[in-house]
């Protein structure tokens, strides 16, 4: 499973790192460190990542491919 994080939409709500700390991390300003990139969701963390995707108030996270 791969997810992309939209650089323009991410405004640092930080919900992603709360729900999927093994997938998403925050930079010093509290923004998703993968903003503008696509991340490989590690095996076994798909549920967490999906929760994070749904919780993002900006809908900045989406499934890639």
């Amino acid at each position: 499973m791969r997810m992309k994080v939209d650089e323009l939409l991410c405004t640092g709500h930080g919900r992603c790192a709360k729900f999927a700390p093994g997938v998403f991390t925050l930079d010093d300003a509290g923004f998703n460190t993968a903003a503008g990139e696509t991340v490989d969701v590690p095996a076994g963390q798909e549920d967490d990542a999906t929760k994070a995707m749904k919780a993002c108030p900006e809908r900045a996270i989406s499934l890639a491919d």
Binding site: K18, F31, K54, P57, E58
Partner: protein
Amino acid sequence: MAKVNVDELVEQNDPETTPERLVERFGRDFFRDFDIDDPNLNEHFHEVIDLMVQKCPVAHSKVGTGYYVFSSEEAVRRIGQDWQTFSSAKGYIPNRPDDQPLMIPVEQDPPNHTSWRRALNPHMSPQVMEGIKDDVAREVNLLIDKFIDRGECEFISEMAGLLPGRAFFIYVLGVPVDDLPELVHDVDKSLFGPLDQRTTYHKKVYDYLEAFLKKRKDMPPQGDIVDTILKGVTYKDGNEAPWDHQVSVVLDLTYGGISTTIYALGSTARHLADHPDQRQQLLDNPEWIENSVEEFVRAYSPVVAMGRTCMKDVEVEGVSLKEGDYVMMGFSGAGRDPRTIDNPKELNFEEPTVHHATFGVGPHRCIGSHLARMELAVFIREWLKRIPHFRVKPGTKPVYETGFLRAMSSLMLEWD
């Protein structure tokens, strides 16, 4: 103002939404002539908001020059994110007097807004707030110490009204502790005091914070948010942000966080007092507390609505808006939108994914959201440890006020 026939937006022939029925039920037709300051809204708040988001997600107001209130979560998100089309630079409340100075950064657009947020965000991140969690827990317990043996408290004046000010002024801004009682009192009076005194108290708070900033200018840097504000930012035109913008940032941080967090604490305490079963869930599963915070702020959004000015003609949810029209994002409705949330009137602590717009969306996303979340979670945890069971004192009624913010001014609680 673009011509909108609200009747076309409201389902035809629905007996629940005729002007007559709305006036009979709520004292006003809030669909066709919304007024955020009408006392009838305060009186029937959730009934009006819930009916609006379901049946009239684009309400029309004829107050002043008129405005629209969009309350579906999708429309709120679209307006908040598209700052080029929906500008903050003409104020976040409708019919704003021209002579009022704009607040920074909340009434500013990118790129100048971005300069401030980039500078300020690192001081308000989840990681930083994690670091002051224990201090806030101590504050909660000190406040509880003062009334726990009495078996009752007036929650707003003895807890909710004090905690956000203390947390922000001591641990974020670093105001001398000796100055706090007066400062917190003055902030309270500027928000909830007699109407004719609010401006005086606001001026007092402004003067205090400006003097505090000036004093810090002459002191060695401490690497905190005050140094960042004093360092300032360079605007797009190459000029440094002026002094009054620097002071405005401190005021925005202060006023953005006080009333909003007081209401979030008050509505949380009231919900837990009225729902013993849900209180028990949190006592049994303290790991659900952080999720419960999201549910409390979703269902009881402290900010009812904030506005934007259209910079060009644009269509939203089938409504043709004209350049210059004023639109409001109805955050209270968006958190209770049945299109995004199953059973929006129920609070569900177990299911962790909660999607809401209570802290705003887009570049103005609440900078204090991580502080507020942390305060609420710490409050719930510490309170339930010491006062696991409590109720609204029989014979009393919680008192609310409503404008662009939902506020609570009295909540009597008691326990055995």
